[in-house]
Structures are given as structure tokens and as C-alpha cells.
């Protein structure tokens, strides 16, 4: 039968001497007590060694005992100062009364003094006792040097224990002796070293062949490790971007600071439209004004006031000062229309994923700053049927199988449509996309003569559906523990 490393080490230790105390093995081999114990039990069970137990008492000084060992016992000091005799009150009032009481008590108990009529006198034993060292003093003296181990409790040891001057611990020592069988077995043992780590040194020296590697408990816990990671919202944004790139859309960027002209006017959003009121958008005090292309401004103004071919326009007085005001971009349509103005010829497919700003107090349903995703398709002969077709295609690519449409309204599209997708998790239809064909009043001033399909994805809503969020603020969750807990869910 194989020996455990610890067992082999104990056997080898004993091979030299035949017998040894267990603590000698511990010290000699540098092994834990429990490890030696386990090895000894295993070896004894197989008859390789016998174990004799020896009970002993280990004595050590308490703090009070240490003081008396250094200064002498109080009764010795009182006896020495007693002379021919003193009155009790005199003895008790010198030094600590408590200590004097103890000293007097012990002198009487030991029969070294007698008390008569308030007078304390030494007895003949008392006089004799002054010359020699008492056994308990002897023991205290030894204890001052080292712990004392006794096979049994002597009367003086018992006396000091009761006086609280000595602490007694019982101890069992085990004497290990090799049996005949053990001697034979020990002769065969070849020790193998046990190591925890495979080191460079072990590897190159080849010594790894001689050692034994410590076995680990694989169920034991280890400190957690977290990978660096992309933000969950960013992951969904990338997914949407990849889907659009795969469909051949070209990505463009919007601007955080935009003029009211590009943000609203160029989209044929009337200057007194409710969405343009002060409490809907962030207007800026710095920068407060922007530069606009003058001829385009004139054409857009005319479209607002009097319309374009076949249109009546909004019929109000257009104010170019309003157009020049700087705002925080509230819709990425501003970017697509800017692009359209400089690329009026088909074919064209572009999209923009960027942040927009709204005049909102942040709560579980509203953010003041969030992502929008918007795109346009321009080509000859595109119709509303293509509008619906592209929406279906986009939503299918994003993984939404069931899509339905209903009428919608946006100031810059006609016909307009809203798309809903079926959310199996919630068991309901969720509005995710608004779209429509850009109005002629928007297109003509830009010099565009072809139909343009435009759509905007409620990106926040898609991210929330993907990640299973209820509170919109979690889109910008930056709690490291939460981010690490997210894993790769939601794809």
C-alpha cells in the first residue's frame, strides 16, 4: 500500500532513532501538528508503529505569580519583618492592606505565626522557616526560568495553583516507537518532496520528476476576475450599426450644437410649431447665433410662408433671426437633411446614430440626452410601398419577426407611418419606429427632385428591449458591479 508523503516522512524520522516524541517529529520535519497526527494514526492502524501516551502537567506563571517569584512571597516578607512580634493593626497598615491580609492569612495557615490578644508572634517553626527556602519558593524560582512539566501535581504545585499564582495545563505527549514491521517498511521508503508551484527552476533542472505536486481542492473559492468590457448600450448600438452597414447604408454624423434652421426650418417645421417651444428644446446663450447659407435660407423661408409648387405653405411670417439661433440638436433628422442638401442626387442611403438633446427632467421615463438612429433612402421611383418594405427589412434585420404599421404624423413627412413590433416577452406590440416620405416643401428648397424615404428608430427603446431594462436611466448605467454582472446577455 502506498504511503502518503506525510506518513513517509514520519517513518523516515523514526528510522534513525527507533522512537521519538511526536513533537520532536513536528519540529524535526517542520510539519503541522494535525498532519503528523493524521500520519501517525494511519501508520499505527497498519501496525508500523505503536503509540504510548503520557499525561503530564505543564506549569506556567500567572502575572501575579511572576511578581511574587521576583519579589518574594508576601508571607515571607511579613515574617522577615516581624521580629519578636507586632500588633495586627500595625502589620495591616503597612503597605497594601489587601496584600498584608493575604500574607497574615497564609502565615497563620502554615502555622508560622500565632495571634494572641491582637499581637502576632512567630512560632518556633516560623523562626526555623526563616533560614531555608520553602518548596513553593523553589518551584516559583524554577518557573521564572522555564515552563515546568510534572508527571503529577506535587503539594506545592497544587498550593500555587489554588493561590492563582500558577496556571496548569494538562498535556498528553505521545511517544512513537517503530514496530518490527515498521522498521522493515521504513527501510523501503524513498521520500518524495511535495511542492505547490511548478517553477522555472524545477522545470529546467528536471527536478519536477522527483517532486510531488500538492493536490488542490478544485471546489475551493478563488478571487473573482472580470474582463474589460464594452458598455451594454454601446454593444446594441454596434449591432444596429452593423445591420445598417450590411444593408448598404453609409454612416454620417450629426452635431451637438445646431442652428434652428437645420434642426427645424429645413425640416419644414413651422417656427410656431409646438415642438419648437422654449420648454421642448435647449436653446443656447453661448454660442447664441450661427451662420446659414443665405440662398437656401431664402428658399426655405418661401416654402414656409407660401409653400412650393402645389402647396399653400404654413402661411405665416418667417423670421430668419429665429433660424440663426443655436440649439442643442433635438433630432438627427438635422444631420440627414444637411447631407441631402449637399448630396441631392440619387441613389443614396445614409444613416446617423448620434446623441440628441431634449428639455426634460431626468426620470425613469425621460432623459435629457439620448441616442437616436435615423436614415434616408433616395432613388427614382420610390413609393410608400418601398417605405413599408424598407421598414420591414430593417426591423427583420434587427431580429423583429412580427411588424405592423399604422398612420403617424411628423411635420416633415407625408404619408407618415409608425411601425410596431411584437415583443414576445411582454406579450404586446411596441412602437419602435417612425417614418415617412419627406414632404415636397422640405425637398424642393434643397434642390431634391426624387422621393426620399425617411425613418427614425427609437434606439433607446430597442436597447431597453434588448437588455431587458425598465428604467430608461439604466441606458447610462455606470455601476461597475452591475456592468460586470451584465455578461453578454441581450444579443
Amino acid at each position: 500500500m502506498e504511503l502518503e508523503t506525510h506518513e513517509a516522512r514520519v517513518l523516515l524520522f523514526l528510522r534513525e532513532r527507533g522512537r521519538a516524541w511526536m513533537e520532536e517529529v513536528e519540529k524535526g520535519e517542520g510539519m503541522e501538528h494535525s498532519a503528523v497526527m493524521r500520519a501517525v494514526l494511519g501508520l499505527a492502524e497498519r501496525g508500523y508503529l505503536s503509540v504510548e501516551e503520557e499525561r503530564s502537567f505543564l506549569l506556567s506563571l500567572t502575572p501575579e505569580g511572576r511578581r511574587y517569584a521576583e519579589e518574594g512571597l508576601p508571607e515571607r516578607r511579613m515574617l522577615e519583618g516581624l521580629g519578636e512580634g507586632k500588633r495586627v493593626e500595625e502589620l495591616l497598615s503597612s503597605g497594601s492592606r489587601e496584600e498584608a491580609t493575604i500574607a497574615l492569612g497564609w502565615l497563620r495557615r502554615k502555622g508560622l505565626v500565632e495571634v494572641r490578644g491582637g499581637e502576632v508572634r512567630p512560632t518556633p517553626e516560623g523562626r526555623r522557616a526563616l533560614s531555608g527556602r520553602w518548596p513553593e519558593e523553589e518551584l516559583l524560582g524554577r518557573l521564572l526560568e522555564e515552563e515546568v512539566s510534572l508527571p503529577g501535581l506535587t503539594p506545592e504545585a497544587e498550593l500555587l495553583r489554588r493561590r492563582g499564582l500558577v496556571e496548569v495545563r494538562e498535556k498528553t505527549r505521545r511517544l512513537l516507537s517503530l514496530t518490527e514491521e515498521g522498521r522493515r517498511r521504513a527501510a523501503e521508503v524513498r521520500i518524495q518532496e511535495e511542492v505547490t508551484e511548478l517553477t522555472h527552476e524545477l522545470l529546467v533542472s528536471g527536478r519536477w520528476r522527483e517532486v510531488r505536486f500538492k493536490r488542490y481542492d478544485p471546489s475551493e473559492g478563488v478571487p473573482p476576475l472580470h474582463p474589460g468590457r464594452i458598455h451594454p448600450q454601446q454593444r446594441v448600438i454596434e449591432e444596429v450599426r452593423e445591420a445598417l452597414l450590411a444593408m448598404g447604408f453609409v454612416e454620417i454624423k450629426s452635431r451637438a450644437v445646431e442652428s434652428e434652421f437645420w434642426n427645424f426650418d429645413a425640416l419644414f417645421q413651422a417656427q410656431d410649431h409646438p415642438a419648437r417651444e422654449i420648454h421642448s428644446n435647449f436653446t443656447l446663450s453661448r454660442p447664441s447665433t450661427t451662420r446659414l447659407p443665405p440662398s437656401l435660407l431664402r428658399r426655405v423661408a418661401r416654402a414656409h410662408e407660401r409653400g412650393v409648387e402645389g402647396s399653400t405653405g404654413w402661411g405665416y411670417r418667417f423670421n430668419p433671426e429665429i433660424s440663426r439661433r443655436a440649439v442643442l440638436c433635438s433630432q438627427t433628422t438635422a444631420a440627414t437633411v444637411r447631407y441631402l442638401a449637399s448630396h441631392p442626387r440619387p441613389p443614396l442611403k445614409v444613416f446617423c446614430i448620434d446623441r440628441v438633446y431634449r428639455h426634460e427632467r431626468i426620470d425613469y421615463k425621460h432623459l435629457a440626452e439620448f441616442y437616436q438612429c435615423e436614415g434616408i433612402v433616395m432613388d427614382e421611383g420610390l413609393t410608400f410601398r418601398d417605405m413599408l418594405g424598407y421598414l420591414k427589412l430593417i426591423l427583420h434585420t434587427l431580429g423583429f419577426r412580427e411588424v405592423r404599421f399604422r398612420p403617424g404624423y411628423f411635420p416633415f413627412t407625408e404619408p407618415s407611418v409608425e411601425a410596431e413590433v411584437y415583443h414576445p416577452g411582454r406579450g404586446e406590440w411596441v412602437e419602435v419606429l417612425g417614418a415617412g416620405m419627406f414632404r415636397p416643401e422640405l425637398l424642393r428648397p434643397l434642390g431634391v427632385r426624387h422621393p426620399v424615404l425617411a425613418w427614425g428608430i427609437g434606439l433607446s427603446r430597442i436597447v431597453m428591449m434588448r437588455l431587458g431594462l425598465e428604467d430608461i436611466r439604466d441606458l447610462f448605467c455606470n455601476d461597475l458591479e452591475a456592468l460586470q454582472g451584465w455578461g453578454l446577455r441581450g444579443r
Binding site: 474582463p227 474589460g228 468590457r229 464594452i230 458598455h231 454601446q234 450599426r241 445598417l244 450590411a246 448598404g248 453609409v250 454612416e251 454624423k253 451637438a256 450644437v257 442652428s259 410656431d272 420648454h279 435647449f282 436653446t283 443656447l284 453661448r286 454660442p287 447664441s288 447665433t289 450661427t290 409653400g307 402645389g310 399653400t312 404654413w314 443655436a326 442643442l328 441613389p347 442611403k349 428639455h359 435629457a368 440626452e369 420610390l382 413609393t383 410608400f384 410601398r385 418601398d386 420591414k392 427589412l393 399604422r406 398612420p407 403617424g408 404624423y409 411635420p411 407625408e414 404619408p415 407611418v417 416620405m437 415636397p440 447610462f476 455606470n478 455601476d479 461597475l480 456592468l483 460586470q484
Partner: protein, 557 residues
């Protein structure tokens, strides 16, 4: 979107038939009105361009046609009431226009009164929260025509306003009455206030704020007088038409009122339909559906139009309340709605273009890859911030894009750098174990007079290490690792910056261009953000990492 609430029973009686609740909602959705029934209440969301649907009566009128009951152009009989409103010249600089009408044979239950008030409130929203038009509805029998639309000095008269126990002057109403407080801003800066009075000088209302208590409409009212005042005649007329045509749906009869301006007079409301033209061709071009003129005509009739077919062309009469029709394309949308969005077959015409990621996004993705590889976690923070965080807590000063109408003092500017946002993130993560390694690839916005909009955006990489190893040598190693990936071997130059420990901050340059900086964050800054462990940070210009040679073959979006 505006919402309407009506009892399901009342709506069915307006509709003239009972429909199942679910079917009703589905039909309304196809017409563009999102609806749901909860208990006995029908709630509807109305699209912004259809003020004619801002009353249950209006929705029922449209739905009847949509369902194929009735349809065509609604007709109204309008007789002159003989009542006049004289307009005093003093209203010109205050609130120049008024339109008015009379509704007779009125029977009002409590429910109908509530519905009427709801319609009035929704129309007020539509009319720019009363600025463009405000509607007054009075019990005609409590006053005596003719009426005068005039002005008065703020303390020039007193009357008991609606829902108030005592008589107040206009100035007091603006100060004390809830409606005065809510709408007083419309009269701000005016030296005289508009006033509508009857023959004996009794006050009907102080437009656009409040009516007098005396003229209150109750369940006993049998005749209504309605006025709309405002700054533009078009909206004023429209408001009156919208209000009166919905009341007509309840079977009440309408009468007109003569408005005498100093130099002209008009009879209001005008319920004449508008004339529009549409051709088969336009419908096909926009919708991609092959529909003949007759089919288009019948679809338009279902949407409440009067239509005459002339070969391939259609002469369309639109009801006076359809203010949203600017262009024939608006009629085309109604053709599509009547045809049914759910029945239009989708199609995808191939438009051959090649997809291309924006260059700055391409660079950003590569930067993210490096940072994740270095064991950093990405965070996403807002560009909206305030000068306290962006400058003062960082021990710096500076200028930024500044919001004129902030929602809160927390968000008043756009950030000019990423580090303050990252320190905020570290602050909110104090309870979690160290080290913390975070980064953001995000925008900052800088004022720039040379730019068209006065500001430019920069894409930046920002990163922070909190706890060990958070020293200069570590962030320098991170910066160099990132730059090495882009083939950049930067020049490092020691600088002084108040946000960083002296002697532990430097700039990185390459070919004369500043790439960014890194350093150990100043202890005072750490304390401002309530941080108790050292933080080292870096901030780099992402766009500076992608030189032209990297971009080759990528093209530009």
C-alpha cells in the same frame, strides 16, 4: 401627443352604433388614432396635425366615414343669428382678432358639459396654449347682445371671474386667480387688457384668461355664445370652426355672428369647404398602388371629403376643419389610410449603395478594442454637465457651450473634457472593490468661433485607474500601448496643469500635433469628488490617431 378621454357609451351613441371594444380600438388605430378602453373609459391619442379629432364628436364623425357609414363631405346648416360683435380699435396692439358664433337647441347633460370643457382645453393646447387663440363659451341667455370686443386698463373694471367668490379687477385676476397665474404671460407687457362686454357693459370675459361667473354654462343652458380671440385671424377662425362643428355632431344648430371691425365686417364662422385637386398619377407615384380615379374617390369619401371625378382627375372638397391640408400629398395620405396601411403590400426596390462606417466610429471601435484588451471597462456618461464639475472641482477655469434655458442647475453646459465625467463615475462606484479601471470613448464640445455653428465636437478617449497601480508610470504605459497600436511613437513633454500633481503630468505630441495628456490626479481634485484612493488618468484625441495613411482605401462618409 394630446389625449382624449370619453365614456365608451357616449362614444357609441355619437358613432350611432355599438362596436366591440377591441374592434373599436383596432379600427381607430388604422385611422391613426391610438385607443384603449379601460373599464368604461375610452382613451385616445390624437396626432398633432388633426385638431378636428380633438373632440370625441370629431373622432366619431371621422370614424363613421372610415367604417363606410355616411362619409363624404359633412354638411352644416348655418343661419345668421343677427348678433353682432363690435371690435374697438384699441384691441389692435393687444389681441386684434375675434370670431364668434351661436349654438341653439342645446341639451347638455353633466357628461356633455365635461366633454365640452375637455374639447376646449385640448384646442387651447393646439392653439399655442391660448396664445394663438383662446375660446370662450357662454350661456347666451345670461347676457344681452350686441357685444363689444374692447380693451380696459388693468384696474379699469371689476367682475366676478369663474370659480371665484368675489369681484376682481383684471390686474387682480392676473395676480390671484389660478387661470390668471397660468396664462398671464400672454398679456405680459400690455398696458390694456382685452375685454368682451354686452350691451349693458356686463363682462363676458377677459380673454384669453377667464370668463365671468355670471355667464357660466350649466345643464340648464339652451343657447351657447362662443368666441375665439387671438393674434392671427386664420387660427381664430379655425378655432371657432373646430369648436362649432364638433357641437353640430350632437345635433345642435349653428348660427353665425357678424364681426364689425373699424373698417370692415365679416360673418363668422365660415363653413365653406376648401377646393383641392388630385390626379390618379399623383396617387400612383406616391403610394405605388394602381388605383383608378373612381376607387380613389370612394376612398376619399370615406375620409370625409366631397369628390367629383373628371376622367383621371378628381375635384376634392375638404371640410373647413381640415386645417392640415397643405399639398395634394396630404390627400394621398388619406387615400392610403382609407385603403388600410395593413393592406398595402410592402416592396423593396433595390437601391445600390455600398455601406460605410463613419471614420470616427471606426477609430472609436479600434480604441475600444485596445482598452478592453488592457482590462478597462467602458462607461457611458452625459455630455451635459455644469461648470462646478467641469471646471471648479477640477481647479480650472474655462468657457463652454452654455444652455440658456436649463432644466436644472446640474445640467447647464456641455463638457469640454472627459475626466470630470470619469471621476463622477468613480465617485458613484466607491462602494465597489479596487482597483477600478474605466474608460469612455465619447464627445466633448468646444466653443469655436470659426465654425458654422460656433462650436465643434471632438471624439476623445478618457480613462482612469483608481487604486493600485494608479501612478504616472502606469498611465504612461497605457497611453503608449494605445498609441503603439496606431503606429504612433509620441514625444512626451512635461507640463503644469492644476488638475494634476506637479511633476506628474505630461502631454503627448506627434508630428507637431497634440494628442492628449496623462497624469496623477491632484489630491484636492480627488477630495472634491470624495475619492479616497489615488487616481491616474489619460485623455486622448481619437481623431488624431487615424492619420490619412490609415484611412487610405476607407473613403470618407
Amino acid at each position: 401627443m394630446p389625449t382624449l378621454s370619453v365614456s365608451y357609451e357616449d362614444f357609441c351613441s355619437l358613432l350611432g352604433e355599438r362596436r366591440g371594444k377591441e374592434e373599436l380600438c383596432r379600427k381607430l388605430a388604422l385611422m391613426g388614432v391610438e385607443a384603449e378602453v379601460s373599464g368604461e373609459e375610452l382613451r385616445m391619442e390624437i396626432l398633432h396635425n388633426r385638431p378636428d379629432l380633438l373632440s370625441p364628436e370629431g373622432v366619431a364623425r371621422a370614424l363613421r366615414g372610415f367604417l363606410g357609414k355616411g362619409g363624404g363631405l359633412p354638411t352644416y346648416s348655418l343661419s345668421p343669428s343677427g348678433i353682432t360683435v363690435r371690435v374697438d380699435p384699441s384691441v389692435r396692439g393687444v389681441r386684434p382678432f375675434i370670431a364668434a358664433g351661436v349654438v341653439r337647441g342645446v341639451r347638455l347633460s353633466g357628461e356633455v358639459v365635461a366633454s365640452l370643457m375637455q374639447t376646449q382645453e385640448k384646442l387651447h393646447e393646439f392653439l399655442g396654449r391660448r396664445r394663438k387663440g383662446s375660446i370662450g363659451v357662454y350661456d347666451l341667455d345670461t347676457v344681452e347682445p350686441p357685444f363689444t370686443y374692447t380693451t380696459v386698463e388693468p384696474e379699469g373694471i371689476s367682475f366676478v371671474p369663474l370659480d371665484f367668490g368675489e369681484s376682481l379687477t383684471p390686474a387682480q385676476i392676473l395676480r390671484l386667480h389660478p387661470k390668471g397665474r397660468e396664462y398671464g404671460w400672454i398679456l405680459e407687457g400690455k398696458r390694456r387688457y382685452p375685454l368682451l362686454v354686452d350691451r349693458r357693459g356686463r363682462v363676458l370675459s377677459l380673454p384669453p384668461i377667464i370668463n365671468s361667473e355670471e355667464t357660466r354654462v350649466t345643464e340648464k343652458t339652451t343657447s351657447l355664445f362662443i368666441d375665439v380671440t387671438g393674434e392671427r385671424e386664420r387660427e381664430v377662425q379655425l378655432g371657432l370652426v373646430l369648436m362649432m362643428t364638433s357641437l353640430a355632431e350632437r345635433g345642435f344648430s349653428l348660427q353665425s355672428v357678424r364681426i364689425r371691425y373699424p373698417n370692415r365686417s365679416v360673418e363668422t364662422p365660415s363653413l365653406r369647404p376648401r377646393r383641392l385637386e388630385l390626379g390618379e398619377e399623383e396617387v400612383r407615384e406616391v403610394l405605388g398602388l394602381e388605383l383608378g380615379a373612381r376607387r380613389i374617390a370612394s376612398l376619399l369619401r370615406r375620409m370625409g371629403y366631397g369628390v367629383e371625378v373628371r376622367g383621371k382627375r378628381l375635384r376634392v372638397l375638404a371640410p373647413p376643419f381640415r386645417a392640415d391640408l397643405l399639398h395634394p400629398v396630404d390627400l394621398v395620405e388619406d387615400v392610403a389610410i382609407a385603403y388600410g396601411y395593413d393592406r398595402i403590400p410592402p416592396r423593396v426596390k433595390g437601391v445600390n449603395t455600398v455601406g460605410r462606417k463613419a471614420w470616427v466610429e471606426e477609430l472609436s471601435d479600434r480604441v475600444r478594442l485596445v482598452m478592453v484588451g488592457l482590462g478597462f471597462t467602458e462607461v457611458m456618461t452625459y455630455t451635459l454637465t455644469n461648470p462646478g464639475i467641469n471646471f471648479e472641482m477640477m481647479r480650472t477655469k474655462g468657457e463652454a457651450v452654455e444652455i440658456a434655458n436649463p432644466v436644472s442647475q446640474e445640467l447647464t453646459i456641455l463638457r469640454t473634457w472627459l475626466l470630470p465625467s470619469l471621476l463622477q463615475v468613480l465617485r458613484s462606484n466607491k462602494k465597489h472593490p479596487l482597483p477600478q479601471r474605466i474608460f469612455e470613448v465619447g464627445n466633448v464640445v468646444l466653443l469655436d468661433e470659426g465654425s458654422e455653428t460656433g462650436a465643434v465636437e471632438r471624439r476623445r478617449l478618457g480613462a482612469c485607474v483608481a487604486g493600485r497601480p494608479a501612478g504616472w508610470s502606469h498611465v504612461k504605459a497605457v497611453v503608449e500601448a494605445v498609441l503603439r497600436e496606431f503606429g504612433i511613437r509620441p514625444e512626451v513633454r512635461a507640463v503644469e496643469h492644476p488638475s494634476f500633481l506637479e511633476g506628474r503630468v505630461a502631454e503627448f505630441l506627434w508630428r507637431g500635433r497634440r494628442l492628449g495628456m496623462a497624469g496623477e490626479v491632484h489630491p484636492e481634485v480627488l477630495l472634491h469628488f470624495e475619492l479616497e484612493h489615488p487616481v491616474a488618468s489619460l485623455e486622448l484625441e481619437v481623431e488624431a490617431l487615424g492619420g490619412e495613411e490609415l484611412k487610405e482605401g476607407k473613403g470618407e462618409g
